[in-house]
């Protein structure tokens, strides 16, 4: 087997004016061989999409080296093509024109271009749609166009950025099957595929090798081989076991944080997920009721609630942050405050939530403390936003702030004036 692409000691950081660099990827190593499908699996924000863009030549890493066919990579290489999560089709070009785009960029002549585009369109099952515009197509058909557009240039390496996550379950499954069928029949004009996903089952279904990423900063936490022969059976016990194992791996990192003084200091800068209180309450009630009775296996729970790991894990972790739940080895179980919450009435729930925010979310506590100290009980949000941005990207800072605002409003701990961008104690009873 021959090595196509190698990434060594890769580090990606964004420079911040005020403070230390934000590290997105740290010391990542990756090697791609001919004939394999490799998955990058991780939570959103673990830097896996950034790594994909580095491999694509769209980004140059801050440090580390990337080689393609043994030579250093400078900019997007010939022989690498990408499929996008959002399809990235040009709405003003027909299917045929979209597919021809990459060939045109290479300066391929018109007749040759049309011939190859038609071949790719037929291969991917789009025959008859050549003159349609993307907006006339369903999501699944659009992603087929994206795939045909990537394949038509006969890339050695096909990059796929969460290619199925914008599709409904049935369509996504059909596309996966078609892709893997073409792959094992060796009809795909590619030598290797690198696929980014947050769907654990998808990774196990498609990949020969999976790199599991951890977040903050992104690192390759585990590397797993998937030994099953294609076509794979999702219901096979060995398949299920591997999925369960990966769930366990992905949740192992989450050690319960204890509200000691030291933890409170650093905890201020912990990114929070903006999970609505309705979802949290719903999850707690579900966990408390039969058949779970306070403890659920995460993959099973995800299946029952029709959620992906990437959607369920933030909810579970939020329960853990608030002290209503605990995650360990792929299981989510309810704590005593969680049980109490499940059976409480509205006012008690709010009181429990307020208590959890005050004791376990340092940011919420800091905001409330500031508001109590001010004579007019108002404080500019920008101050807290700036402080958060010293430790995380602006997007995360905003999400963290939105999370705290949503929770604090529910708990009637403090309120927020969107027009003035200020936290306030208006509408808040003194008792809270």
């Amino acid at each position: 087997m021959q090595e196509l692409m190698s990434v060594r000691g890769c580090r990606q950081a964004y420079h911040k004016d005020s403070n230390a660099d934000l590290v997105v990827l740290d010391d990542v190593n990756l090697s791609l061989q001919e004939g394999e499908i490799v998955g990058l699996l991780g939570r959103s924000g673990s830097g896996k999409s950034t790594l994909l863009r580095i491999v694509a030549g769209l980004l140059t890493p801050t440090a580390g080296e990337v080689t393609w066919h043994g030579k250093a990579l400078r900019g997007p290489a010939e022989g690498v093509a990408m499929v996008f999560q959002s399809f990235a089709l040009f709405p003003w070009l027909t299917v045929q024109e979209n597919v021809e785009l990459g060939l045109e960029a290479q300066g391929v002549g018109r007749a040759e271009r049309e011939r190859r585009a038609e071949a790719a369109i037929d291969l991917i099952g789009l025959g008859g749609f050549e003159s349609a515009y993307p907006k006339e197509l369903s999501g699944g058909m659009r992603q087929r166009v994206g795939l045909a557009r990537a394949l038509v240039v006969h890339p050695d390496l096909l990059l796929m950025d969460e290619p199925f996550s914008a599709l409904d379950v049935l369509t996504a499954e059909t596309l996966r099957t078609d892709l893997i069928d073409l792959w094992i029949e060796r009809k795909l004009p590619v030598k290797s595929i690198l696929i980014v996903t947050h769907n654990i089952e998808e990774a196990v279904l498609l990949c020969d090798r999976i790199l599991v990423f951890s977040s903050n900063p992104g690192r390759v936490a585990h590397e797993l081989q998937v030994g099953f022969a294609h076509p794979r059976n999702r219901l096979d016990p060995a398949f299920r076991k591997q999925v369960d194992d990966i769930y366990a791996l992905m949740t192992r990192r989450a050690v319960p944080s204890t509200p000691t003084a030291a933890a409170a200091d650093t905890g201020f800068a912990t990114p929070l997920h903006a999970v609505s209180t309705n979802l949290l309450a719903g999850l707690i009630e579900t966990l408390a009721a039969a058949p779970y009775d306070g403890k659920a296996d995460l993959p099973a729970l995800a299946g029952a609630l029709q959620l992906e790991a990437d959607e369920l894990l933030p909810m579970g972790e939020t329960l853990q942050t608030l002290g209503f739940g605990d995650i360990a080895e792929g299981d989510l179980h309810l704590t005593d405050p969680g049980r109490h919450f499940a059976h409480a009435d509205m006012d008690t729930r709010k009181a429990l939530f307020a208590h959890a925010l005050r004791t376990r979310v340092p940011l919420a506590r800091a905001i409330r403390k500031t508001l109590d100290e001010r004579w007019n009980h108002r404080s500019a949000a920008v101050r807290f936003r700036d402080e958060l941005e010293d430790h995380m990207s602006p997007d995360y800072a905003e999400e963290t702030l939105q999370a705290v605002i949503g929770w604090a409003r529910y708990a009637e701990l403090f309120s927020f004036d969107d027009e003035a961008d200020q936290f306030t104690l208006e509408d808040i009873d003194a008792a809270a």
Binding site: Y14, A56, L58, T60, P76, S86, A88, A105
Partner: protein, 560 residues
């Protein structure tokens, strides 16, 4: 809020005006009388005049497109250039170029002494200045908001800069550009009419065209000829609207960036003709293929990402900043020297006071236009059958050069000895009110059906319905229309606050009349002063009233 770069931009534009005025004055002295083709009031010559007027329009449009395709990419691709180029564009949008017509005319006459070419170029330049800025602005905004995934796709597929420009950036900008071109053309008709008959001090020039025809009719007190000219203009605008812009706007919807198929509307008859006639389609395909070939050439190099994380080049920034500061300091000194040679503080005070009078006019007119057109627009917008019929008419009326309609008003004012300070005022809004109407219609048509139903079920009616339901929904649209309308009204004040009928000269008090009279007297310093003060008023109004209002309205009236 205005920042340092805005001030820099204002100074840069002011020095530009001073330079043009200087150049214009320099060439004014040895002016020879032109050997002009005679202009007569014979209505049979109107088709010829109309054609010449139209040709001028399209020559200017070509210049504007050229400007748009060079200025905007430069401003978008270079961070440093963009810092000064964009505020300059913003200020230029607000400068009432009409006041400068005479200087530019004199300048171009100087380039081609004694030949009609100079006059033609001056007219074309005047139209260009009324068209180019908002087109460039729209293109720039599109360039900076290209969707990230499409951008990555073009980079990933190794398209060169040239290919990326034609395959991604231009198509993405197309709907906005076409719409702004349409607005520009509307402004252009106004200018072409004004620029065909120029009087500067003792000298006056006329270019064969509808504008010159009307000017002559005014001198000769021939109201019949005025109506002939209006008729001819109506025919021209109707033809251009039907043959060019309806098809163009319909065609450009293809480039709208949307992932869902929107409601299909019928092709305008002209586009249908083009699309379905075999011969025409083949010709079109040939041109299309040639275009695809040229734009697909592999000019330039494919994208390579910056090797080091792009840190700012502080030295370069400092050098650039110093350079701009030095240039502006010099500009300030020049302007100061130029203006103080003739004028004192009292003149500035005069201009500001007169500006306040014109401001009062604009505010009153906007309020009146809102009171009249908002209810009508809402009524029409909520009835799709009506809206579809009225919308093209409103857009058509906006394109009609309102200055052609001034003479009948003036005749009435003269005949009844009406107060000019009051009765000349409506002329300012004659051509610009339609922007308010068609934007409000668009807003009311877009008002969500479920909200209307909810209001109906709760029996919200009368004043409460206006206050809580429909007005908040149309405010962002109203503001969009009012920005265009008020800017246009300021500009129109230069021709609307003074009027003449034969030997009778009417003048209202206001900054527009101040500029017009200074122009007649050949007092360049006063014209510069008047124009700069007016530009500041327009800028201040946009920045302090319209933009905050728009931001507030769109924040309040959208979910999420």
């Amino acid at each position: 809020m205005p920042n340092l770069w805005d001030i820099a931009a204002i100074l840069a534009v002011a020095i530009l005006l001073v330079a043009i005025a200087q150049a214009g004055r320099g060439t004014l002295v040895p002016l020879e009388q032109l050997d002009q083709p005679a202009i007569t009031l014979d209505p049979w010559r109107l088709p010829e005049f109309a054609l010449r007027t139209t040709l001028r329009m399209f020559a200017a449009l070509a210049c504007s497109l050229l400007f748009t395709f060079t200025y905007a990419p430069l401003a978008a691709k270079s961070r440093r250039a963009g810092l000064i180029m964009i505020p300059v564009l913003d200020v230029l949008q607000s400068v009432p170029i009409l006041g400068f017509l005479t200087f530019t005319t004199a300048f171009f006459m100087g380039l081609f002494p004694g030949r009609v070419m100079g006059l033609e170029l001056a007219a074309i330049f005047a139209i260009f200045t009324s068209q180019a800025w908002n087109m460039a602005f729209s293109f720039y905004q599109s360039l900076t908001t290209v969707p990230a995934d499409l951008d990555e796709a073009t980079r990933g597929f190794r398209l060169t800069g040239w290919q990326r420009f034609w395959r991604l950036e231009v198509p993405f900008a197309m709907p906005g550009l076409v719409w702004n071109t349409m607005l520009s053309m509307s402004a252009g008709w106004f200018f072409v009419v004004a620029s065909e008959a120029i009087t500067l001090g003792e000298t006056s020039w006329k270019l064969p065209g509808i504008g010159a025809y009307v000017a002559l009719a005014l001198e000769k007190r021939d109201i019949g000829a005025v109506f002939w000219a209006i008729g001819a203009m109506l025919a021209v605008i109707l033809a251009y609207d039907q043959l060019l812009f309806r098809p163009l706007v319909a065609w450009s919807t293809k480039f709208r960036f949307e992932t869902t198929a929107s409601a299909q509307t019928d092709d305008p008859w002209m586009l249908a003709l083009l699309r379905r006639t075999h011969l025409l389609r083949q010709g079109g395909d040939g041109i299309g293929r040639a275009f695809t070939w040229v734009t697909g050439l592999r000019l330039g190099r494919p994208f390579t990402p910056p090797t080091k994380a792009a840190r700012r080049n502080w030295l370069g920034d400092a050098l650039f900043g110093t350079l701009v500061a030095a240039a502006l300091g010099w500009a300030l000194w020049q302007i100061w020297g130029y203006v103080t040679a003739e004028l004192g503080w009292t003149d500035l005070l005069d201009a500001i006071l007169l500006g306040a009078i014109t401001l009062l006019r604009v505010v009153v007119l906007m309020a009146l236009a809102a009171i009249i057109w908002v209810p009508i627009g809402v009524w029409l917008g909520l009835r799709p059958a009506w809206a579809q019929r009225v919308q093209p008419v409103a857009q058509f009326l906006a394109a009609f050069p309102a200055n052609l309609l001034f003479p009948p008003f003036v005749v009435v004012i003269v005949a009844f000895h009406l107060n000019v300070d009051i009765w000349l005022t409506p002329l300012m809004v004659l051509g610009t009110q339609w922007y308010i109407l068609f934007n409000v219609i668009a807003g009311a048509s877009a008002f969500p059906g479920d909200l209307r139903e909810a209001a109906q079920l709760f029996r919200v009616g009368g004043w409460l319905w206006w206050r809580k339901v429909i007005l908040p929904g149309v405010v962002p649209y109203f503001v969009t229309g009012a920005i265009t309308a008020s800017g246009g009204s300021w500009n129109a004040s230069i021709v609307a606050e003074v009027a003449s009928w034969g030997d009778t000269k009417l003048a209202a008090h206001g900054l527009g009349a101040y500029i017009a009279q200074a122009t007649d007297a050949g007092n360049f310093q006063r014209v510069v002063l008047g124009v700069v003060v007016m530009a500041l008023y327009v800028l201040a109004m946009n920045r302090l009233i319209w933009r905050p209002l728009y931001a507030f309205a769109s924040r309040r009236t959208t979910l999420g």
